[in-house]
């Protein structure tokens, strides 16, 4: 395992100081995390990057790939609605790339609020904190890249698409190959009904219980023994939805073009928002709401001391961990490759609920990599 070198204590202290100044509660996390839980939350693509550890006869565990999941669990265990937690320690991710450290230091903060709390001030606080801490490392070539996962959903909602198509586009937004396939299909005629489409037509006129019974009869006639975790009702419902999706119109060429232009927006924030607004067309109520939140976020960032001329907004900014669902941001150094961000963070309201928390709660956090932030560090 390749470990990152240590930076001088005074440099580390300077990067740590903005985190301590928040007054957040310091927490630690076990180095060994349950493997099944991490994979369940982060997805199987994460497995290649995990160090898996298992004692004889014991549960499979992995070295913590980050602190977010354990900190969320500690917060939920505390039973409190709101909380702010700061952490510092080594995280571990395997890499085939020989010059990339696999054991590295992170300092981060996770902030939780109840459902009623406004999101923009919390977003601005966390992004400004990441910026301030990164800047304390001494680099003078930093920029703050902003993005928003929820903006794409708002943009799609305003396009007046068939529900199945809109849902599919939101789902594939972060998956370039599927998105490209969907855009390439633009202008195509709806598919003609296959045999399963006829069955779907029959099922769609029935109640859920009746549809399930019909499907069980189909299985019996075809001599199929049902195995696996999906019941007849779930399969009948999806047959109907699939048939509806297949017969729904594909994107028009104009719609595909505006999606492509939307995802290509990458500019200074005000110019980016103007470009997004221009792509969306005259009536875009959902997008207008989301963009007005951004005006507030930018004001708050400026008040917190982030120079807006060093910020950028890119609609396509995403993350390897797929639990972000709102604001995303990265602090990048011009001297480092864009995939070696100095600090990253974002909003992940959905994650606490997936770990058993109350639905609707708010969560946002950030993490800085001191070795990358320090001028004498990663190059």
């Amino acid at each position: 395992m390749r470990a990152e070198p240590n930076l001088p204590p005074e440099a580390l202290a300077a990067i740590r100081a903005p985190f301590l100044a928040t007054g957040a509660e310091p927490v630690d996390a076990p180095i060994l995390q349950p493997l099944a839980l991490i994979l369940e939350l982060a997805g199987e693509a994460m497995r290649a990057r995990l160090f898996v550890v298992q004692a004889e006869g014991g549960q499979e565990t992995c070295l913590r790939p980050d602190f977010t999941v354990p900190v969320v669990r500690q917060h939920l265990d505390s039973g409190k609605l709101a909380g702010r937690y700061v952490y510092e320690g080594k995280a571990f991710r395997a890499s085939p790339d020989a010059d990339r450290p696999e054991e590295f230091r992170q300092i981060g903060l996770e902030r939780f609020d109840d459902a009623a709390a406004p999101v923009a001030p919390a977003d601005a606080e966390i992004a400004a904190l990441a910026w301030t801490a990164a800047l304390a490392g001494g680099r003078d070539d930093l920029s703050l890249w902003l993005g928003d996962i929820a903006l794409f959903a708002a943009f799609i909602d305003d396009q007046g698409l068939a529900p199945s198509l809109a849902a599919r586009l939101k789902r594939v937004a972060a998956r370039p190959r599927l998105l490209a396939a969907e855009l390439a299909r633009a202008g195509a005629e709806p598919e003609t009904q296959a045999d399963s489409g006829k069955l779907a037509g029959l099922l769609s006129g029935l109640s859920e219980a009746e549809a399930a019974t019909v499907l069980e009869e189909v299985w019996a006639l075809a001599g199929i023994d049902p195995v696996g975790g999906r019941g007849p009702a779930a399969i009948a419902q999806r047959l109907i939805r699939r048939a509806q999706a297949a017969s729904a119109p594909a994107l028009t060429l104009e719609q595909a073009d505006s999606i492509t232009r939307f995802l290509a927006v990458d500019d200074a924030p005000q110019a980016a928002f103007a470009a997004i607004r221009a792509v969306a067309g005259a009536k875009a109520p959902a997008l207008d709401g989301a963009l007005s939140d951004w005006t507030q976020r930018l004001d708050l960032l400026a008040q917190a001391g982030v120079p807006l001329e060093r910020t950028r907004f890119a609609t396509a900014l995403g993350h390897a961990f797929d639990y972000y669902d709102g604001l995303t941001f990265e602090v990048r150094s011009a001297a480092l490759h864009p995939d070696r961000a100095v600090a990253v963070g974002g909003r992940y309201d959905g994650l606490p609920a997936r770990l058993g928390g109350a639905p609707g709660a708010r969560a946002v956090g950030c993490m800085v990599r001191p070795w990358r932030a320090w001028t004498g560090g990663e190059s």
Binding site: I224, D225, P226, I235, R238
Partner: protein, 316 residues
């Protein structure tokens, strides 16, 4: 044999029998030498080669780590090695046996799932509705991961399976499987079907070189001797010689056949085995004959393609 080339061959099962049959077809045979348990052997007919008998899985690992120079094992096992395996091994010859497909198979009762894109949607629905990821039973972790990623399927979990993978959905320990199949019968018997675009790899046994192994000394020369025999035998299986009494009218016909891929031999032509009938007919139609077709035992070409590939890639 101070610095022998080490060739790893399967030590058990059907694959072992097939490799032995193939070697003996090439005029080579194994004679067991080392130890009472017989896990070492020599290859009669080619000097400078020591044979090591290993399980098919261990052969893939030994090739990857450079512990053996050449090995015969299934491509499915080689592709399961982590990272960029093509930087560490070189496939020299597909052997035409040990065929098996690595496939994605889902319950037949999922009549709404026919393709990987259906699977992507179902996996997403399952996660959104239940908060659980779809479970895939397999022992082929690396290939499952990269194939699913290529098809944009992300909302799933792998449950590692040691054996009897195809029974996992019926047992309730997974929703679907990624597994090796030859005829598909075992999958069908377990209530599963293969997705239309769910074939991950069409695998067969491959003669493979390790690029990490130490190829110094006489080892490359030994590899060349072995590869030439193998290639000569493979070429012989694909060709036939045609002979006929010399005839003044033959020149234009022979030239046409040469333009079509045949090559000249002292008393006739060497043609692809699949073209025996066609070529003979062209000659007899011109009044030339009788034409005798015979199958050669070995055809040694001047160059040896797999050896040249190997030479370019190994460090000495």
């Amino acid at each position: 044999m101070s610095n022998p080339l080490i060739l790893a061959v399967p030590s058990k099962g059907r694959l072992k029998e097939q490799v032995e049959a193939w070697l003996s077809d090439c005029g080579l045979s194994l004679s067991v030498t080392g130890g009472s348990r017989g896990y070492m052997a020599e290859l009669k007919g080619v000097p400078g080669i020591q044979v090591r008998l290993l399980s098919a899985g261990d052969i893939a690992e030994a090739l990857d780590l450079g512990e053996v120079h050449l090995g015969i094992t299934g491509e499915d096992l080689l592709r399961e090695r982590a990272g960029d395996v093509d930087a560490r091994i070189l496939l020299l010859r597909a052997l035409g046996f040990g065929r098996a497909d690595l496939v994605v198979a889902v319950p037949k009762s999922w009549i709404d799932v026919e393709s990987m894109s259906d699977l992507e949607e179902v996996a997403h629905d399952l996660l959104a509705r239940s908060g659980r990821r779809m479970r895939v039973a397999t022992k082929y972790l690396a290939q499952t991961r990269s194939f699913f990623a290529r098809h944009g399927v992300v909302d799933y979990r792998i449950t590692e399976s040691g054996g009897a993978t195809e029974g996992a959905p019926a047992a309730g320990s997974a929703e679907l499987v990624v597994d090796i199949t030859t005829t598909g019968a075992t999958l069908v018997a377990n209530g599963l079907k293969i997705l239309a675009d769910g074939v991950i790899l069409k695998s067969q046994a491959q003669l493979t070189a390790s690029l990490r192994a130490d190829w110094s000394g006489e080892r490359l020369a030994a590899a060349e001797r072995l590869l030439r025999v193998i290639e000569a035998r493979a070429a012989a299986h694909d060709s036939a010689t045609l002979a006929w009494p010399a005839d003044p009218r033959e020149a234009p016909v022979v030239e046409a056949l040469i333009a079509d891929g045949a090559s000249r031999r002292p008393n006739g032509l060497l043609v692809a085995a699949s073209r025996i009938g066609q070529a003979s007919l062209a000659l007899t139609a011109a009044g030339i004959g009788p034409v005798t077709a015979s199958r050669p035992d070995f055809v040694y070409e001047a160059g040896c393609v797999p050896y040249n590939k190997l030479l370019k890639r190994v460090q000495i």
